[in-house]
């Protein structure tokens, strides 16, 4: 088993290295950062000097190697745009993204499961059918549009919620949180709904179909025959058994929520790492782009690694196959 885990980790490291290599080979197509860094009155000589200083005159493989050299020592370089260490900027921006992702994740799970169960139990009711049709909007409308729509309804027309930003934040030991202020909480609502809507509808539809499947099983029928209360059947017996695939999907969607935050953060000017990445692309801020892409791929590779290892524990067949069985 140890050999299996080590092999998986080796593969993960390889994937990371390849992601980095592809990223660095693409940076040249994003554009040239030099013009953004120098003013209107720069000369060709200034351009060459700065290019050399930043190591941009080197082939991308060399640039990549230098990045890796720094990265293994925990040094992600200095942002071209802000002139500050990238790790410092990422740490500063991470709380905003993580809080947003956490809130939208919880919203998606709680409402997704609740609505999924509801629509499964009242499968022919008007409300359930309405919810099912409405959920199509969540699946099909792009995040960008939903965000703009919410801003226009709740900020511009009704004036209830702020249209952008994070509101007031409180700094606790380097972690800036928006949970402790009224404006911070208000500012969370729209972006969290925008970001979580897709995941919510996904979970809801999944829970519904799993529930319908389970409710057809014999043991449910017997439970009814025993005269158990509907509530006990639905929530204690049926729901529990639908959760296995749901939890797997939730785990995989966790990464997606953080990665998809880019769009939501841009629409709401939410000061997280996704917005940082978009700004970095506009400015061709290579150190920031590289660090962000590596961070996201580490996250995805990490989640997949954990899932793989969990499978190893859960699924005995996997072990037999590896042992060279049938």
């Amino acid at each position: 088993m140890l050999a299996y885990i080590i092999r998986r980790m080796g593969q993960s490291a390889l994937v990371l290295l390849i992601v980095g290599l592809v990223a660095f080979s693409m940076f040249r197509f994003v554009g040239d950062p030099i013009d953004n860094m120098l003013g209107q009155e720069r000369t060709a000589e200034d351009i060459e000097r700065l290019r050399e200083q930043l190591g941009l005159d080197q082939p991308f493989a060399v640039q990549y190697f230098r990045f890796l050299e720094g990265a293994v020592q925990g040094n992600f370089g200095v942002s071209y745009r802000q002139g500050r260490p990238v790790s410092e900027i990422l740490l500063e921006r991470a709380p905003a993204t993580l809080e947003l992702a956490a809130v939208s994740g919880i919203l998606a799970i709680v409402f997704g499961i609740a609505l999924g169960v509801f629509t499964a139990i009242r499968r022919n009711g008007f409300t359930a059918n309405f919810i099912m049709s409405a959920s199509l909007i969540g699946v099909s409308l792009p995040t960008f549009l939903i965000g703009i729509l919410l801003i226009y309804i709740f900020s511009v027309e009704l004036g209830w919620l702020p249209s952008f930003g994070r509101g007031e934040t409180v700094d606790i030991g380097g972690w800036s949180t928006g949970f402790l202020t009224e404006s911070g909480l208000k500012a969370l609502i729209l972006p969290a709904i925008t970001l979580g809507l897709y995941q919510m509808t996904l979970i809801m539809r999944l829970v519904r179909s799993e529930m319908l499947e389970v409710l057809r099983q014999d043991y449910i029928r017997f439970a009814r025959a025993r005269g158990l209360k509907d509530r006990a059947i639905n929530f204690r017996h049926a729901l529990k058994n639908t959760m296995v695939p749901v939890i797997t999907v939730i785990g995989l969607q966790l990464g997606a929520i953080i990665a998809f935050a880019i769009i939501t953060e841009t629409v709401f000017q939410w000061p997280g790492v996704g917005l940082l990445f978009i700004n970095a692309i506009q400015f061709v801020d290579i150190p920031v782009m590289a660090a962000y892409l590596m961070l996201i791929s580490v996250m995805f590779v990490g989640i997949n690694l954990i899932v793989d290892i969990l499978y190893f524990f859960i699924d005995p067949r996997l072990r037999v196959d590896r042992a060279g069985g049938h």
Partner: protein
Amino acid sequence: MSRALTIAALIAALAPAVQAEEFTWAETTDPQTMDPHAVNSAAVLGFLNNVYEGLVRRDKDMTIEPALATAWEPIGDGEGWRFTLREGVTFHDGSAFTAEDVLFSYQRASNEASDTRSWFAPVSEVVVVDDYTVDIMTSAPNPIFPGSIANWMIMDSGWAEANNATLPDKESGNYATLNTNGTGAFRVTAREPGLRTVLEPFDGWWGEVEHNITRAELTPIQNPATAVAALLSGDVDFINPVPIQDVARLQQDDDVEVIQGIEARVIMLGFPHEADALKFSSETTDTNPFADVRVRQAVAHAINVPAILQTIMRGNAEEVAQLVSPAMQGYSPALAARPAYDPDQARALLAEAGYPDGFSFGLKCPNDRYLNDESVCQAVTGMLAQVGLRATLDAMPVQNYWPELRADNYDMYLLGWSPGTFDAEHPIRFLAATPNEEKRLGSWNFGGYSNARVDELLPQIQSELDDATRQAMLDEVAMTLQDEMAYVPMYVQPLVWGTRSNISMTQRPDNFFILRWVTVN
């Protein structure tokens, strides 16, 4: 302990804000540094004009007026300029402003590490005469020098030395990248790059206070739709810029006002004067038709600028025939007329030049640099096609655009130019002078336009002290550039700001937002 802290923070955050004239505004780009000498860009200098001050500054109508210097006069026959400094001025940290700070700021701003170095190319030496008198010596007479240093901001020498920031550090940053200590009307009280920057009035400011702001906050909002929504909902009091397509809608809203003006930026088409052949033509591969002045004139006659302004700019821009807008010093009023829109004449000129059936070529264009730049290029492509000039449009983000132009990968290109000195000499130096690395001339003259008479007149313009003689030379250059159609200037880009209607402010043509002219009613 930590709970007590949390509760204290909570109370502080929830406590009602002091009744005050708070002002929030949003711009597309965050100033990338707080160091006034590190980056020469409008976003940085515009913002820092509220915090730092120069010896001179620009008034509401762009005229030069005293700031940290109360008076200035030429020395001798133009060997330099003597500046008399304002007494009793203090920096935000309380230290006094003296001639030493001017000398220090000159050394800092003209250093190789500084992006503002080119401003001091004419300067040979800075001499401290006494605590409140400074002589800035120039290698040649320089009549426009005071006007060219309006954005040269003075930093406190003691503060910079104490914080290890005697030179700007663009690559890795230093204390001055995040902190400020100027003499201006506002001081920076909080700075979170990319998130928000907070300004509060400086009580010890020397000038007369016109504003009524007690606290101002700048938030960058990149997405234009979000910015417009923030303005409409009252979350911000001012946005810059307003997208052209939203102007009409905002004008209908009673709570919001749109302030429009003309920016200093002239949008023009450029040509590959030096190239031997077209690079993107399917049939004309051995000659360069644009080297023929008649072809360039045909381009000018083929473009219907009023139509572009009417449709794409929705009537928010002004056409122009020179490399500078009429608001600039040294503009030539006699040469105001653009070549008339006349496709027949364009066809005739092309036939005369030997291209009766026109030719195909490549037009390069940025798609995120100037207002509606790609749409303008599309319109230009369509108009040129009507006279047989078949352009293949290649539009790209600006980060990819400049490298393409530097590598000469174009047959025609779009360029916008805003003269940093607000003088007609500026575009001549950068766009019309023969490129010369050593003399730092023609650094944006991608096409390599070269005219011996223009090159001869430029140094004379730079050193001529008599206004009439200088203007005559500027007129001659403008006339030459028009006759030779070195560039095809099209229009001056509009400036569109949006505010809540309880705000009054002044819009300056350089697109600098000056906080001390803002009143919240």
